[in-house]
Assembly symmetry: none
Homo-oligomer: 206 residues x 4
DNA sequence: TATGAATGAGGCTTCATTCAT
DNA sequence: AATGAATGAAGCCTCATTCAT
């Protein structure tokens, strides 16, 4: 059934999809969801109007897809801390932070969209993004809880402090990306250290 | 000239203005800037189309006014720490945090607008809001610098850490307001303590 | 019945009316009917909105009144040529032209309105203005007919030539007024001579 | 690249443009600029709202285009009199008049717009139209000057008399078009003769 | 009579989506 | 699959007129 032609056709189709996604990503990051028109995307992707709707259902759909795939990727690199591991908890957390920073800085457009442009777009989106951050928040909260139970962390309100932690990181990165800074490997390492350091001091027992 | 009638007329006019602002505030907080139509505001304020334009130039104008007056009010209650004062620096900071929290929780709609709905509305707005946060960031950064110079704080990057501090607070409050929690005085006091505690631990020398 | 108070009240009312008419005249002449808003007139007359409607039914009404009174005045000074008079026909015509020019140049705002701004305002107005010019045209046409019958004029199409005559004068004056020129008595006399001269040469038998 | 399909598409697009222009022309001529709504044009052209804006930027734009192309066409057929030509000056002038009359009577809607409906629409338009007539006036004035220098014409004020000439013709034609008369070839010839005759008598030396 | 706030019909323009080729 | 013309709902704003004080 699926002979070469079909396969090739599929590949082409997928390629075209990616081309549009790429264009949309830049447009949304640059102008924000509302200020971006389908025409902008068409222009950036160099395709005709109809072609767009051949690949995506709507403006909302493509925005959603960009957002979802990004949050999925982010979610994927956050590993739960394994207390039985040889690697220290601190270093496991550090690795998490570093992986996240890597993704964020390597996808500045998507980071911009996630942190700045995806708010207040639509009730539906807001919910989805809230869920994403809720998910991250949950991961952090669990870690805090475990830390408290193990006596590593002070007896704090995990719910509240998880937002402190999350917010601090979001804001700092948003600012860095907003001003177009692309730190090199060494700078990222130091940034990750700072993030973790600040955060842990705020919550560690001693 | 300005007899009783004129005075009363002015008062009525101002009252009507406030009525519209109040209605708009709720609408914007609820649906976001873009999803809110003038018609929504008219409905909420129970006025006719023309009446709106008698008091405000445009949709953007009224949104801007809401935002500006709120950020002005917020800016107004943040006092620089006076190291020569009898009151300890910590307590001065605590007072700042408490005043801010008071305004935020007493104006949940405006808080929602500021933290959630005023992003990505318009390049112009984005700039204005960025300036506001930039202003707050500057205040925090200055405090950090002073603290470092005085040897009270660790030798950190004030720029970066100021964003950590700011972001943590913004996020936590945004979450609380988002879920419609209106903490009582006691809860607010504890929240302020937590905010300050978390923050200071992250930056204090010891 | 009509004691002093009533009389005085009437006089005041009339005065107020004139004040508004005067203001409207300037506004209409300056910006044209459509570009003039009631607000413009209120500003020029320094009165409140309601006051306007106390004296005039509508925007159309006041415009109409300005126009009508002006066309009436103009019509009034055009006398039919009396061939039995001691005064020569040419001089009677010249007197007509001079009287018209006097009114036009002494009321430049109204002249502007009549010649430039009162066209295409409204079907109703167009009709009225067409009727006015039709009236003037009729006067001219009659003169031509008489002249032809008396053998003074060539055997021309009175209908058509009356438009030639009328149009030439209208255009020349419109231009003069448009550029704000206010000729003195001597210049007006010469202008009248020119008008008549040009016109008569075009139609006189010899 | 530009194969048959593309060519046809372009032709169709141009056709649609013309269809809209045609509809707008009728509407504007009939009701005047201000009384014409976009909806009127849509109805006359039998197209949807969006389609209009696909071809024209705005109501002003389409009106402007109608006007400009018409004045351009008119300007195009007015040739300067060539005194070295075999054709007599009089006949060259006559040819000019005839060409102008031809265009005017063949485009009664546009003529109506130019002479009646395009006045007082907008400051911008007024200027443009004034410039057009100014251009024509200049042509006439130059001819007069030349005539005077050559001793063919009397020693008149060219500026003033050019307005006489122009105004007479404008008015006569406006009247004819206004009453919907469409003279046949013979009638046009005679009209042109009359126009020229009247005009020349007014200015010729003898 | 004077005021000016309130009204709402009316008009222009945008833009996401559809559809015939 | 690709194209781009066509669609029309939706939204913003103006301004002549009314009306309560």
């Amino acid at each position: 059934m699926t002979d070469g032609r079909v396969t090739r056709a599929r590949a082409l189709r997928e390629e075209r999809r990616q081309q549009i996604l790429y264009a949309a990503r830049g447009v949304f990051a640059h102008r924000g969801y509302h200020a971006s028109s389908i025409a902008d995307i068409l222009g950036a992707a160099n395709i005709a109007r109809g072609t767009f709707y051949l690949h995506f259902e709507s403006k909302k759909t493509i925005f959603s897809e960009l957002l979802d795939s990004f949050t999925d990727r982010l979610s994927g690199v956050v590993h739960r801390v394994d207390l039985t591991s040889d690697v220290s908890a601190r270093n496991q957390l550090l690795a998490n932070v570093q992986r996240i920073l890597a993704i964020l800085f390597d996808n500045q457009d998507l980071t911009t969209i996630l942190l700045r442009e995806a708010v207040g777009v639509d009730t539906e989106f807001d919910t989805k993004i809230a869920e994403f951050w809720g998910h991250v928040h949950l991961l952090v909260k669990r870690s805090l809880k475990t830390g408290i139970e193990l006596g590593i962390l002070r007896s704090i309100d995990p719910e509240l402090y998880a937002w402190f932690v999350l917010g601090g990181i979001k804001e700092a990165i948003a600012q860095l990306v907003a001003r177009g800074e692309t730190p090199d490997a060494e700078q990222r390492r130091r940034l990750a250290e700072n993030v973790l350091d600040y955060t842990l001091r705020g919550i560690l027992r001693t």
